[in-house]
Symmetry: C2
Subunit: 348 residues, 2 copies
């Protein structure tokens, strides 16, 4: 039985098909024979299922080390393929004609006990090095398999979550407040603002105390007419831009979108995020655990896997879900478009 490397395919005959495809899910049926990707061939070589493959151009015999050193395979793909096989999965390289919708994916992984002859898909995997930046806009359907510099692999599941909650408050109007440096102080706030709406932070944790509001909270409230600040919402937004630049506008857009969805955002500073959120606030006295950490990013952001690992690990450690709010430029109506991207740890 011979396997021959021809361009980016390793070809075998009907015996190879029976032995590797029919019983163990390697490769793709090609006429009566077998087509393998070089990654699959590397795995068979590593396992010792075959000792050599023949390089069709040079007639050289290639062993595992020789194939790995060649340009035919990426060592990242080989490591991820091996890891998933070790975990008991069958998987197919995502090639046009081999699997449905291969775009943006390196491997299609089948549920345990199933293979390329079935229709179900467990995961769509993108295999990357920890040094590869990943465009945020391309995530949401796939699982990232990140190979770190010492070749350990971690999996990150990405999805587009539905962000919704039940928090609503009837707000007063015309509450007097002053802009002080990079925050706002309402000396004599109505109770509803903090105790029901969870806006701001009292200077001391009691009713009747002056209420400190972040620039984001104050800008949102001033534009709704709730706060009365000299210069109006514009003065607050201007101050926000001075201290944060364009980032302030993105964060304000996300703050508003979350409030509109019935979710209360509070600062995520202690977790290194923009916001932590509470989906169901009835009153501050009966506050539950915050569910999400939200980091606000421009829509064209590219993640470095290490930064992703940091955020996801932290969120996991404090039992919250990590959500990225990707803010694109405003549409024709002037509303910025926000895409929600959740990233979580996965053990396949």
């Amino acid at each position: 039985m011979e396997l021959v490397l021809e361009g980016d395919v390793v070809r075998g005959g009907s015996e190879a098909r029976e032995r590797f495809y029919d019983s163990r899910g390697y490769g793709h049926v090609d006429g009566g024979g077998l087509a393998l990707s070089p990654v699959e061939a590397a795995h068979l070589l590593y396992r010792g299922d075959v000792e050599h493959i023949r390089d069709g151009r040079s007639d050289e015999a290639l062993d595992f080390q020789a194939l790995l050193s060649s340009a035919a395979v990426s060592e990242i793909d080989v490591l991820v393929y091996k890891d998933l096989r070790d975990r008991g999965f069958y998987l197919s390289p995502a090639r046009e004609g081999w699997v449905d919708g291969p775009s943006g994916t390196d491997f299609v992984v089948y549920p345990r006990g199933q293979g390329p002859w079935d229709d179900d898909v467990a995961y769509r995997i993108r295999a990357i090095s920890e040094r590869t930046a990943v465009s945020a806009a391309t995530l949401g359907d796939s699982v990232l398999a990140v190979v770190d510099e010492e070749s350990a692999i971690t999996y990150l599941e990405t999805s587009h979550p539905d962000i919704a909650g039940s928090s609503t408050t009837d707000l007063p109007s015309g509450v007097a407040a002053d802009l002080l440096g990079d925050r706002v102080l309402a000396p004599d706030p109505p109770e509803a603002l903090y105790f029901e709406g969870f806006y701001g932070q009292p200077l001391d944790d009691e009713a009747g105390e002056p209420l400190q509001l972040s620039l984001i909270e104050a800008a949102a409230l001033a534009s709704q007419g709730v706060l009365d600040v000299e210069g109006g919402a514009d003065a607050i937004v201007e101050c926000g831009r001075e201290v944060e630049g364009e980032r302030f506008d993105r964060r304000l857009a996300v703050y508003r979108a979350l409030r509109e969805r019935g979710v209360v955002p509070k600062t995520g500073y202690k977790f290194g995020a923009d916001f932590r959120t509470y989906a169901d606030v009835e009153s501050v006295d009966s506050l539950g655990h915050s569910e999400l950490l939200v980091r606000v990013l421009p829509a064209d952001h590219a993640f470095t896997p290490r930064d992703l690992a940091l955020d996801v690990r932290l969120a996991h450690g404090v039992r919250k879900r990590m959500v990225f709010a990707l803010v694109a430029e405003a549409d024709a109506d002037g509303d910025p478009r926000i895409e929600w991207l959740e990233v979580g740890r996965l053990t396949p």
Copy 2:
């Protein structure tokens, strides 16, 4: 009893001195009278100990809100001063002539039960907004009091730790290895390399398996003559610079410095850091918990408090200490200078 704002000092007479300095540690004795910083005066106004102070220039009476809105005080300083008073401390504004070594500090905090008439110091505090970038080179002696956008305060202790361990290994020499993409593979490694020295990661977790090494590990080993790679250590360093730029040189310098100190660095990828470290490795089979997370930064780095909060929170959550390795350009001997900076949570 009258308090008068004159420039950046609020002055009172002997009655004020008795009432505020002698019994409660506010201000600084000035002749027979009292000199207060505007921050201290703001706190007395907030508490209602005095109702107004007089603005010496305009003769206006200023209440708490008016003083806070003026340029005489920073609201960040007022919030931090209040928080430390609320925690039961006496503290002095770090002014020349008021405290020893005021440079780079906003407040000197005395141990509980002590005050400005004693010599002991509990903390030297720098009060900043979460939006203020902090130059790494200025840290190491002080406590950062960070006021987040919602005016909550967290304290970060900074110090220069002594990094040392007891890990040493007798290493073989001339071990054959190949450079593959952004990692190195030794097909037939001696056992000591991984099992005693904790270099690399076997392709499967068993003796006799090919050993994967990171570029950092491989570059360090090749320059010691342990690894034999085509092109030598230079080829590995070149590859490292291609994928990481100057950051690779900094990380390699820190890797070497840690190994020289008897500390074993392994990748910190899963924690979003450069390295996690083990101080006392005898063999991989008896490996303990890793003690430090190390992030490598150029010596002129400026932290944003939010990034610091993220690192410190994560390290705390996984029971490790967060250490920054600040790498300056090489000295005359060609050795890069490394300063170690530890940052941890503090509850005063």
